[in-house]
């Protein structure tokens, strides 16, 4: 029992991010001291702002929902050896298509329109990402380049669409609202904030991605291609098929993130709906070590410090401190060897 516990905690996948978080909070505290602020007050406010009230908690969860999904999107890509920087673009296309379909759902009952809108959003993201996958397979174009370029294309398409063919009355660049039947039900409302059922979709996605990666043939093939394409090919695993498939799954998750914003938060397409969540996905996948469950925790971590940062600002400490914290976490997770060598008790049990 003890040895099993020990094994669990000694696992690099868990211990590296945990140490990274602790160290970053510590360093940020020093920074606060240097600028003459009290870190205890600041962190107290941060925690209060993230968890202290019902409203805070709801905000926190609403922020985490799309971050879980973009984190999964990027993390799944990584497992296949693909660096999907285009989650933003996939998110936009997914959200846009979901909005379009959702806006035409008023005559459908919710049990049809919700799954349909979800599915369309995912397919949109999947197809957008599959373009990059196909370009890689057919033309050898690196996905980092193509997904970045597709991000721009997606932004321009969306801007065009909500400024013309699919614009809400009133001349502002936003789409009409989606039908009520295509909106996620609210689970809780406090003041102006509400908790949508989207979080359950995100958590379900965590479970599904976990099962795909660990238990299915697809997961096996995708991992093999990511870890050693030569051996995969030798083992009869098609690199082309799995590259496109992995990009599509990754894109579907990003598309789902955008759909979540449409169906649970804004009820329409807005240019700003994606924000930088696609890029946050990279951070989150990194902190979560590309593990679905780790990613869920990492997304909550990021959403918590962001939600709490407002309260910190009110307490008189600049909210930019959280950017420092986040930066240090990423640095330490990326430089994981540094963290491992900090762990004196792991000496000797190291890898060759």
């Amino acid at each position: 029992m003890v040895s099993r516990l020990k094994k669990f905690y000694m696992n690099d996948k868990i211990i590296v991010p945990v140490i990274a978080v602790v160290v970053s909070l510590f360093i940020a505290a020093i920074v606060m001291l240097l600028i003459g602020k009290n870190p205890f007050i600041a962190y107290g406010a941060l925690i209060y702002g993230a968890f202290g009230t019902e409203g805070a908690l709801i905000n926190n969860i609403m922020k985490a929902t799309p971050l879980i999904l973009t984190g999964l999107a990027v993390g799944f890509g990584f497992r296949a050896g693909l660096f999907n920087i285009g989650a933003n673009g996939q998110l936009i296309i997914g959200a846009l298509l979901a909005t379009y379909v959702g806006a035409h759902m008023s005559t459908f009952p919710f049990y049809l329109s919700i799954p349909l809108t979800l599915a369309v959003g995912m397919v949109g993201g999947a197809l957008w990402a599959a373009i990059a996958g196909w370009l890689k397979v057919a033309r050898g174009a690196h996905e980092v380049i193509t997904t970045i370029m597709l991000n721009y294309v997606a932004v321009f398409i969306a801007n065009f669409v909500v400024n013309g063919p699919f614009q809400a009355p009133g001349g502002v660049p936003k789409s009409p609202e989606i039908a009520y039947s295509a909106r996620f039900p609210d689970l809780l409302t406090t003041g102006a904030t509400w908790l949508s059922a989207g979080i359950f979709v995100a958590l379900a996605a965590v479970a599904v991605v976990y099962v795909i990666i660990e238990k299915t043939k697809t997961g096996y093939e995708v991992k093999a291609v990511g870890l050693n394409p030569y051996a995969a090919e030798y083992g009869g695993i098609s690199i082309s098929k799995n590259t496109i498939l992995a990009m599509a799954i990754s894109g579907a998750l990003a598309g789902l993130a955008g759909t979540m914003q449409v169906m649970g938060v804004y009820y329409r397409y807005l240019g700003s709906l994606g924000g930088g969540m696609g890029f946050d996905g990279i951070t989150i996948a990194l902190i979560g070590q590309n593990d679905p469950i780790g990613i869920a925790f990492a997304a909550f971590l990021i959403s918590s410090i962001r939600t709490g940062s407002n309260q910190m600002q009110i307490a008189g400490v600049s909210k930019n401190i959280v950017i420092i914290i986040q930066g240090i976490i990423i640095f330490l997770v990326a430089a994981n060897r540094l963290v491992k060598s900090l762990m004196f008790w792991k000496k000797g049990a190291e890898e060759a």
């Binding site: 299915t216 870890l227 050693n228 030569y230 030798y234 083992g235 000797g348 060759a352």
Partner: protein, 535 residues
């Protein structure tokens, strides 16, 4: 018997030092004392002592997974021991990382080369220690130094050649020059001959003797008995993490060494019955294949394999064998000609379909093609059959069955350590090879392309693999065996083809030919010319 008593004498001699408490190790270039190294679940080095006299060539031998590479990685500072001491030239030295090792004038040539393929010889050699003139890289200085080293030790390489264009033997010379350039007095060579042709090995031995005559100390890991006898002065034998014998080469022989390594008598040549040959199962016709740089490597090869026979392809490395096997197994494009398996033209079908039709493949490069090193063994054991009904019910993997069959293979093929959860990368080289062989045989193929099946394996494992290949043959599997080891070709094959510059020089049977005749064919003489000359 000498070998059995001798180690204890040796050890006794040392215990005297220890008891007197003054440990005079000044005659020894390297002393590793009571080294312990644990990996999760494995005691890789269990109180190992290694004594290497200054100026000798010392063989470090033992079964796959005995802990040789682990021991040397500690001497070179790649990993650190849990306990134990290292003395260099009699002085206790802490070696925490390769920089410490370089400072202590230790150099290591790894089992798998660590060169930058796209850089030139000079650039690789000076990497990290570039000579400069002001702020600039003084490549001419570097070139001069390398030329001097080459000349002094008889290591001939063209300084401006790009690594990827060089044959393996030359790449290895670059590794050695690199080590000497850093001022090494003690050289560790981890299985340097595993990838060399016999000619290249001979050249390497010449170099080793030159190095020795100039006072360098060499630790040499190998599995080949005749190599130990040919160049070394003394031998340390390891088994299961412990030292089981220390002998002077002049006072032992191959048989005794074999027994010390494996703990029993080993058949140095397998016995087999005459092949019961069946119908033709595999054929290639006028096959043309290009190598990576676009030059034709296989130039019109014809061959056929029948059920129940082993067809050996002999030849010096780099004469198109690699490309031939890759084309047969679907990993390389066929430019011209046909590959026919079970009467079906499979020239352009995917590796997956070939596997489904019953083709197996033991690849030459085990780390590149054979394993996903970051996968645990149970995943590696299903590579290629992960979607067969045995392991997969359509979309989900049958984990219990995968683990059960992996456990069975680990046991049957004596993979060490016997754990299916260990990552492919953490197995010793020989055990990685066993995993691949176990997997391919367990898939029950009808035809199997086998390339360098025993490269890097210990003699016990070689015996086992050879027996396995023969028993497959006797079950009616057709086998195409490509090997650089003439001995292996001779002892396994029912028919032998010799390949030279992408062409088949002739076909012979092992009992109707000689090593000389094969050697001549390997050098580019056609069989019909040779036989005509004789007549």
């Amino acid at each position: 018997m000498v070998g059995e008593i001798f180690p204890y004498l040796f050890v006794f001699e040392r215990m005297v030092f220890v008891e007197k408490g003054k440990k005079d190790y000044s005659d020894y270039a390297v002393v590793m004392e009571q080294i312990v190294k644990k990996f999760p679940g494995v005691l890789a080095n269990d109180h190992v002592d290694l004594f290497v006299k200054r100026g000798e060539i010392h063989a470090l031998v033992g079964e796959n997974g005995a802990g040789k590479t682990t021991l040397m990685s500690q001497l070179y500072g790649l990993i650190n021991p849990n306990s134990g001491k290292i003395y260099i030239n009699g002085v206790e030295t802490k070696i925490k990382n390769p920089n410490d090792a370089i400072t202590a004038k230790i150099g290591m040539v790894h089992q798998h080369f660590m060169l930058v393929d796209r850089l030139s010889v000079v650039e690789n050699v000076v990497l990290g220690m570039e000579p400069s003139r002001g702020p600039f890289f003084a490549i001419d200085k570097a070139r001069d130094q390398i030329k001097k080293l080459s000349k002094r030790f008889g290591l001939y390489v063209e300084p401006n050649a790009i690594i990827e264009d060089l044959p393996v033997g030359s790449q290895q010379r670059v590794e050695i020059i690199k080590v000497l350039y850093r001022g090494a007095e003690i050289l560790v060579l981890d299985e340097p001959t595993a990838v060399l042709t016999p000619q290249e090995t001979e050249e390497l031995f010449k170099i080793l003797r030159t190095l020795k005559s100039q006072g360098k100390t060499i630790i040499f890991i190998t599995h080949k008995l005749h190599e130990i006898m040919a160049v070394t002065d003394s031998v340390t034998v390891m088994r299961l993490g412990k030292v089981t014998g220390i002998v002077k080469t002049s006072e032992t022989n191959s048989r005794e060494l074999a027994r010390m390594m494996v703990g029993r008598d080993v058949l140095l040549r397998v016995e087999k019955d005459k092949a019961k040959v069946g119908t033709e199962i595999f054929k290639v016709e006028d096959l043309h294949v290009k190598e990576n740089r676009g030059i034709e490597a296989v130039k019109g090869v014809n061959l056929s394999v029948r059920r129940g026979e082993i067809v050996g392809v002999a030849g010096v490395a780099g004469n198109g064998q690699t490309e031939l096997v890759e084309a047969i197994t679907g990993l390389r494009k066929v430019e011209e000609g046909h590959v026919i398996f079970k009467k079906t033209n499979i020239t352009n079908i995917s590796p997956k379909r070939r596997r489904e039709m019953g083709m197996g493949h033991i690849p030459e490069d085990r780390l590149k093609h054979g394993l996903v090193t970051s996968f645990p063994l149970y995943y590696n054991f299903i590579l290629g059959r992960h979607d067969s009904p045995q392991f997969c019910d359509g979309s989900f993997l049958k984990m219990p069955e995968i683990k059960r069959s992996s456990e069975e293979l680990v046991k049957r093929f004596d993979v060490r350590p016997p754990s299916i959860d260990i990552l492919g990368a953490n197995l010793s080289g020989g055990n990685q090879q066993k995993v691949i062989i176990a997997r391919e045989f367990s898939f029950n193929p009808d035809f199997m392309a086998v390339a360098q099946p025993t490269r890097g394996l210990d003699i016990g494992a070689i015996e086992f693999i050879h027996k396995t290949i023969i028993s497959m043959r006797d079950k009616g599997v057709g086998i195409l065996l490509v090997s650089m080891e003439l001995e292996e070709i001779f002892s396994l094959s029912d028919r032998i083809l010799v390949m030279y510059e992408g062409q088949i020089m002739g076909e012979v049977t092992p009992d109707a030919t000689s090593t000389e005749e094969i050697g001549l064919m390997m050098a580019g003489h056609r069989l019909e010319d040779l036989r005509a000359q004789e007549a």
